[in-house]
């Protein structure tokens, strides 16, 4: 085991896969000479040259589409969006070309491509620069969506994503790039579509992912467990699509209660999907309706106090857990 930052873990994954396969290349704004807006690609240009580490103009639709074309004829592009907010100008390319190509071409052309970059809110970036967009990608058949919450998962899942033959939406967190964690010294991958129980518990199942799991949920649970004298089971699906429903349902069959905490907006968010499927498959096991904690249904404001009030936080999580346990906060 060695301890690395999330930035380093992602860097290692790209470095190892580029060394392993000549067809893998990285393309995006500032990824080469600038070494990445968030330094995830630091040093890769020096090592692989400007043929394989490529700075692009500000033209997300253009270079996303160029990557899709290159993937159709056998290359394996990694397309970095400086942040996922900027992917919206390339939404048509991802939804209509990347996701549908294999099916629409009747199997003639598949698209082994990874779109990656940071998603969600940082601090004070306001509405256009703080979006958690997993739902609008997971909704689209043909895409897989991955959102790791640890350095180990990030490296292992990014390697699997680069080796996968389908278009992958890989969403990181910019505020976590500096966060450290242990990763194995030997080479490893982590399978797409397999969740993990982060902490065993018996009274409530809590499902969360990415930054809100790492930064909010995991800090909150022990505190809440002590306060309420309960034990919480925490699950990180790690992959949003395909979702590891079995793992969640197995846990709910034991705890009989489910809380989902996500950074995205509530309406037709990923949590709504999990809530529906788990409720329909574990209906008789649920002692309370599934509770969701999401970002409030408003564009995220700049001011720190409003930003905090809009995002999931400990208080909201506590209230949700109290609710599924039918415990009144005042008691």
């Amino acid at each position: 085991m060695s301890v690395v930052s999330l930035r380093e873990a992602l860097h290692q994954a790209m470095d190892e896969e580029m060394a392993r396969d000549e067809n893998v290349f990285l393309m995006g704004e500032e990824v080469a000479r600038y070494n990445g807006a968030y330094k995830v690609s630091q040093g890769l240009m020096a090592k692989y040259g400007e043929r394989r580490i490529i700075d692009t103009p500000i033209a997300e639709s253009g270079f996303a589409g160029l990557g899709i074309g290159a993937a159709m004829v056998g290359l394996r592009p990694i397309v970095e969006f400086m942040t996922w907010n900027f992917s919206l100008v390339a939404y048509d390319q991802i939804v209509n070309n990347a996701a549908k190509m294999y099916s629409m071409s009747g199997g003639h052309f598949h698209v082994p491509i990874v779109f990656r970059g940071p998603g969600g809110a940082a601090h004070g970036l306001a509405a256009t620069h703080s979006q958690a967009l997993e739902s609008v990608y997971a909704h689209i058949p043909g895409l897989k969506v991955i959102m790791p919450s640890t350095c180990k998962d990030a490296k292992g899942l990014l390697k699997s994503a680069i080796r996968d033959d389908n278009p992958i939406i890989f969403i990181e967190s910019e505020v976590m790039y500096g966060d450290k964690g242990e990763i194995p010294d030997e080479e490893y991958t982590i399978p797409i579509g397999v969740g993990e129980i982060k902490k065993h518990g018996s009274d409530v199942t809590l499902v969360s992912w990415s930054k809100v799991l790492a930064r909010v949920v995991l800090n909150a649970v022990e505190k809440i467990e002590e306060e309420m004298g309960i034990s919480i089971e925490v699950i990180d699906p790690r992959t949003i699509k395909p979702m590891d429903y079995d793992l969640i349902i197995g846990s709910v069959q034991k705890t009989n209660r489910l809380v989902i905490v996500e950074e995205g907006w509530p309406f037709a968010g990923v949590g709504a999907q999990i809530s529906h499927v788990v409720t329909s498959r574990a209906f008789d096991h649920l002692d309370a309706p599934v509770e969701r904690v999401t970002q409030e249904d408003v564009p995220l404001p700049y001011a720190r106090s409003l930003e905090h009030a809009s995002l999931p936080n400990v208080d909201k999580i506590r209230r949700a857990i109290q609710k599924v346990l039918y415990k009144n906060g005042q008691e």
Binding site: G65, L66, V73, Q93, N96, M104, S105, P112
Partner: protein, 328 residues
């Protein structure tokens, strides 16, 4: 005996056949659409045949890439895609080019390096840059021909794709099939420049205006662009002036608010097949009887296509779940 551009008699006749095949194929499509056998949107190529034949059959090598929009039957046939499979696709059969998944607007053939068939206007232009990028990345000499309509030159992906192609010197030739209209909107009502080749100036890109009614001129000038791209990796923007003899798609009128019957009739005098036939006769390469023979032969071939399609099985129900995720 000297022939036009020193091309062999066989070559010239093969081109004539290709143009005629496309024409007869499309006429049959119109019939089948009327009978309700072809569904959805179907955009016919009548009048533009010299473009696909001259540019693809004429100027390309088999391993070069071709990509186009939804008006794609002509380019597919000229690239060697089996017309039986195309017809089967239009009828939604399992023997179709995409097993009935894509229909008329989404013809694909990996073996023939025909990469679609794309229905979102302009969205295939960046893909074309990607094929060219891959060719250069692998140090191959393959080039890509990317066809688009005049209307596609007004959308953002046109700007982004051409800038990337010129900036990175990618071997892609962007061909505007300028048939003067996007649906019912004329070029001067949709583009700030009527001379669409001027759009290359924003990228210092090689450009040329080409008469799309002459298969020989199309061949000659596209070939120049292709050869240039093979050697220098530099892209071109070609504005090929042509004309759509039918309505935009099967549900649209041939003329109406946006163009007069007279205009259509006038333009039809420049029918590329007719003009090429006259030239071949003038040059003593073929005579009327050979054209009649060719027409019989090709009509029979088209009938075979229909027969093949009609007799092909529907896709099996499980097909719905196939080709969604590769390797699953």
């Amino acid at each position: 005996m000297s022939t036009p551009l020193g091309l062999s008699r066989e070559t010239l006749l093969r081109w004539y056949d290709d143009m005629l095949l496309v024409r007869r194929f499309e006429e049959k499509c119109a019939q089948l659409y009327g009978m309700g056998k072809i569904m959805g949107f179907c955009h016919l190529y009548n009048g533009q045949e010299a473009v696909s034949t001259g540019a693809i059959m004429g100027a390309l090598q088999p391993d070069d890439y071709v990509i186009t929009a939804y008006r794609d039957h002509g380019q597919a046939i000229s690239k060697g895609v089996n017309p039986k499979a195309i017809m089967a696709e239009l009828l939604g059969k399992s023997t179709g080019t995409t097993k009935g998944k894509g229909g008329s607007m989404h013809i694909f053939d990996r073996e023939k390096n025909f990469l679609g068939g794309h229905a979102i206007v302009g969205s295939h232009l960046p893909l074309a840059a990607g094929f060219a990028f891959a060719s250069k990345y692998r140090k191959e000499k393959r080039v890509c021909l990317c066809f688009m309509g005049d209307g596609a030159t007004n959308i953002g992906d046109f700007h982004e794709a051409l800038n990337l192609a010129a900036l990175w010197k990618l071997p892609v030739i962007y061909i505007i099939e300028n048939n003067l209209y996007s649906m019912g909107t004329s070029v001067e009502r949709s583009s700030a420049v009527e001379d669409l080749s001027k759009k290359a100036l924003a990228f210092d890109m090689r450009k040329e205006v080409i008469d799309g009614s002459s298969v020989l001129e199309v061949y000659e000038k596209v070939k120049k662009a292709v050869d240039h791209a093979r050697v220098t990796y530099e892209p071109s923007l070609l504005d090929i002036r042509t004309y759509r003899q039918r309505g935009h798609s099967m549900s649209d009128p041939i003329h109406g608010h946006y163009r007069t019957k007279e205009e259509v009739e006038e333009k039809k005098k420049n029918d590329p097949i007719h003009l090429f036939g006259e030239l071949l006769k003038k040059e003593g390469i073929a005579d009327e009887s050979q054209f009649e023979e060719a027409d019989k032969r090709i009509k029979a071939l088209v009938e075979e296509c229909v027969e093949f399609a009609e007799n092909s099985p529907e896709p099996s129900p499980e097909e719905l779940w196939k080709d969604v995720y590769y390797g699953e």
